[in-house]
């Protein structure tokens, strides 16, 4: 066998795909030919270089986002024409990018698309990190909007346009953790965390934003108490938004919105004073 003939088979040899006959032909040549043996070494080096395990683990949010697709967004995802997909990603895909960008310190680049404009509040940042650790997801979400801890009184001063309450205790026995003031672009927002024996509940208040941005996930109309709104479910978790003219009240919890949630919504979203007074102001 010539060197050329041998070299054509070296790939199959390192891949373990060479027929026994050919192997028998090649091996004596390799034993006697330094150049072909060196070539074989190179190929083995390349193979082991390519085999290096990838260091990154599977992102924890991946399954949640697949599950959301299974729950209803699949058709939309698959229907998107290839050409527009990069630009018009589903918002929850964008959130994955945003989440990463935070880690990479690239958030400034993405702000133009997500948080800088007041009209787009990216709840996907929150929803994508569910359901594994809701509290952590919530913290991540608020810190994306420059959360600063504040007293309830300061939060009211900070966001005088918003109609909300963050009582020390909510119906059902949830006790208040932290209160935060947030910046949704130019607009003020407020968030608070609650806890009931380790069960997390979070609330966010913001000015009603353009509907398209307020509900990026597949969401459904719902009624809680006297208010109409919409909800997004991720696993056991649901993010319920109820809106009055001044404020969108969002509650993240595992509570049933028919039974357990209404008293809580009433506590954090007091009815607006009738007439044109109240806090409403444009």
């Amino acid at each position: 066998m010539t060197c050329d003939e041998v070299r054509r088979q070296l790939g199959a040899l390192i891949d373990g795909e060479l027929s026994p006959d050919l192997r028998l032909d090649i091996e004596p040549h390799l034993a006697g030919c330094e150049a072909c043996a060196a070539e074989l070494d190179e190929l083995r080096g390349l193979a082991s270089g390519l085999a290096l395990p990838s260091v990154a683990g599977v992102p924890s949010e991946l399954w949640a986002s697949i599950e959301r697709g299974l729950d209803g967004e699949r058709t939309e995802l698959l229907r998107r024409s290839p050409g527009v997909r990069r630009m018009a990603r589903l918002p929850w895909a964008l959130a994955a990018v945003v989440t990463l960008a935070v880690g990479l310190g690239l958030v400034g680049l993405l702000r133009n698309d997500s948080s800088a404009r007041a009209s787009s509040i990216d709840f996907t940042l929150l929803l994508d990190a569910l359901p594994h650790d809701a509290k952590q997801a919530f913290t991540k979400f608020v810190s994306h909007y420059d959360a600063k801890e504040a007293s309830p009184e300061d939060a009211k001063l900070f966001a005088p346009d918003l109609n909300f309450e963050v009582p020390e205790e909510l119906p059902g026995g949830f006790r208040r953790g932290s209160v935060y003031v947030l910046h949704f672009g130019e607009l003020a927002g407020v968030a608070a965390t609650y806890d009931r024996d380790g069960e997390f509940l979070g609330v966010v208040f913001h000015r009603p934003v353009h509907t398209g941005h307020c509900k990026p996930h597949k969401d459904y109309p719902c009624v809680a108490g006297h208010q109409e709104g919409h909800k997004v479910s991720v696993g056991q978790w649901r993010l319920v938004h109820l809106m009055d003219p001044t404020t969108c009240h969002c509650v993240l919890s595992r509570l049933n919105e028919q039974t357990e949630l209404p008293p809580i919504m009433s506590a954090v979203a007091p009815p607006l004073p009738s007439g044109d007074g109240g806090r409403h102001r444009d």
Binding site: G11, A12, A51, S54, E61, W63, I66, A93
Partner: protein, 190 residues
């Protein structure tokens, strides 16, 4: 594998637990492949997502001739190739700018040696796919043929071509230059 058949059967019935189980068993491999195919975590994330959504949607088309893993590799590779084709122009230009800085071209070649992942990034998507399926994922030629939907007899020559391109890109340490200066090369001495 009876377990696998059972799992697929449950997935066909839309059993969410089974879907999750299949995901748990395979996602590390699929994500790792897509990450190295795209060199981008967010692309790998998106593509993994669409891979599983397509897989669950089309699980009735899975005929059981290959393993589920191979079938998932096939979907994942197709998803990745579509993406790479779409962004080939833009990405190619970017790479050119990144890798061919003025001054690097001549003398730089000896100093700046491309590493394996850089070289992989320069290959065409299908070359990248076949190398990763073989060496990162450890598929044999028959499985590769199933994953890439090509004749098994062509796998060897495709791999030869892809390896040659890698070695050309990698230059000194893996490449053809070896033949010219065997004696001078530290790896060959001895």
């Amino acid at each position: 594998m009876p377990d696998e058949q059972e799992l697929v059967k449950r997935c066909r019935a839309g059993d969410r637990e089974a879907q999750r189980e299949l995901y748990a068993q395979t996602s590390e491999r699929i994500y790792a492949l897509l990450l190295r195919m795209t060199s981008s975590r967010d692309d790998a994330f998106d593509l993994s997502q669409s891979t599983y959504l397509r897989a669950f949607e089309r699980i009735n088309q899975f005929d059981g001739k290959s393993s589920v893993a191979t079938w998932l590799y096939r979907i994942a590779v197709n998803e990745a190739l579509q993406l790479l084709r779409r962004s080939a122009t833009a990405r190619g230009k970017l790479k050119e700018l990144e890798t061919r800085q003025p001054g690097d071209a001549g003398a730089g070649a000896d100093i700046v040696r491309m590493d394996i992942d850089d070289a992989l990034g320069q290959l065409d998507g299908d070359e990248r796919a076949i190398l990763l399926l073989r060496y990162q994922e450890g598929l044999d030629y028959r499985m590769i043929a199933e994953a890439l939907e090509c004749a098994e007899g062509t796998v060897g020559s495709r791999l030869n071509r892809a390896r040659s391109r890698m070695r050309a890109l990698l230059g000194g340490s893996y490449g053809r230059r070896e033949e010219e200066d065997v004696g001078a090369h530290p790896r060959s001495s001895g």
